[in-house]
Amino acid sequence: MSYARLQHGGPLRRAFVFLGLTLFVVWSAGPILWLLLTSVLQQKALIQQPPDLSLENFTLANFTAVIASAASLGRGIVNSLVVASFSTTVALAVGAPAAYALARLPVPRANGIAFLILATQMLPGIAIAIPLFIVISKLGLIDNVFSLGVVYLSFNLPIVVWILRGFFLGIPWGIEKAAAVDGAGIFATFWHVILPISWSPLVASAVFAFVEAWNEFFFALILTRQQAQTVPLVIAQFAGQYQTVFGQMMAAAVISVAPVILLAILFRNQIIRGFADGMMKG
């Protein structure tokens, strides 16, 4: 058997792989397609069994109805935007230097600290939610986008550190020595030399953190009331409200997940690479 033949396999193996890939595509893409389809179909088409997919039933009415009637959706999107952006920005600003220090600078027990930071992700949200709820209530900061954003740092910060540290560990040592001999201080080195070559992991961790913050439901449920509701809460509400108007329910879902999905698709390579690198070096 030639080496190429070993890699590609004979016709039987290729058929098997083809079948497997097809099944996988159908399995993964099916529900998403159905989500999109439902959102552009009229109610009467959806309540037929099986659903009537003839062309005249396609409509944008679901979207217009949702956008028109649901001020809460608009507010939810704005809130999510604020919370996610705020949380991501702080996570990057604080996490990047921390990741650099844990990867390259002589911090005592750096590996231990890095591991601890990762270990915090083992905490179930409920364990910290209750004390946080009490404190935030006492401070009168319930239903506030910024307090939510700060709470989100509990997982955004470790993500940023995880991804960036993995990357920083792989930079060749020489550049920092060269910068030192060239007269750059530690922060100047970080700013002028290290960060500019870290585009990919920076983007990866930013998108990762943003997506996680946007999609977060549990803390938002507990820590917000009316004002600071984020998109996931609005969706959950719709699921209760629009129980029978399926098209509109899906349309609302599409509107709320679209921004983040687009982000993810745009930066998919960075995300995967960043997370995988963090994993390998961890």
Partner: protein
Amino acid sequence: MNAIELKSISKTFGDYTACRDVSLAIPVGEFVTLLGASGCGKTTTLNMIAGLEDATTGDILMNGARVNDLSPVQRDVAMVFQNYALYPHMSVARNIGFTLKMRGMGKDEIRSRVEKVAASLELSTMLDRLPAQLSGGQQQRVAIGRALVREPRTFLFDEPFSNLDASLRMKMRAEVKELHQRLGVTSIFVTHDQEEAMSISDRIAVMHQGRIEQVGTPEQIYNRPATRYVATFIGNPRIELSSAVVVSEQGKTYCTVGSTRLALPSPLESGRKIEVGLRPEHVRLTDEAGIGAVVRLVQPVGPTTHVTLEWEGGTLVSSIPGFVRLARGASTRFKIDPERLLVFDQATGKLLQ
């Protein structure tokens, strides 16, 4: 006043000692090489001179002043690294000019200085390129340019050519030597390649296990190696040593290797245990009377042929000009030049002459 002086510096990391009691005086304009195998402490010493690592004990002086507490910039040193360590996201011009930018120099002055240095290194057409777009030799020249533009008092080189292929390495060595002859800047070079050290240095400091074994000119190191280690480290092919015992007879001293008797270049007390060896070019094969040996390996390299022999004292290599017709397993005889015999004390490894 010496350009650089190291006074008993040492470096320890926890219980590991990288350098101990290293002392060296380097006059202005000298090209000194720190030579040794990996882990001998040469890079650590260089880092201490540069200011990248702190000396645990000892003093580092530059032009008479103690510089232990000064940063690399304040010591006015520039460094060329293994793997060049160029900033990958910066163009050649910005790579070279970075240090000037850190110093706060104005844009115009930076540009003119960079262009001048680039011209001297034949990099003028590459100023806007990124390091990834350059060849290995060009990258190395950018690294040198980055050091040159500082016009420093000292140049430091950290195994800059280890990653280049053979022909490029020879070329870069010549360029560095020419540069030194042209500019006359005090230079400290680190390498594990003894041929490299021999060819470009004014003096060589051979290091082993954190200590300096010997400092001297290439000739001194080669012809009068202070220790067994230096003798075996320098010279290609490697010198082979054999154990021997000093024997005194009728007023003359010899040494015996098994049943073979060899004349000693200078007298020693009888009964002393020694090790003796000869550089391959001083071992001559002969058809006349001589010491018996069997040919084990024949390696022609062009101008010479290295013949590995097995004799009573162990292994010995003989370098013969040109090509030789000798078969493996053939018996032959060799003669030695007693004046060239290197004699070392077996216990201390030090040269006895």
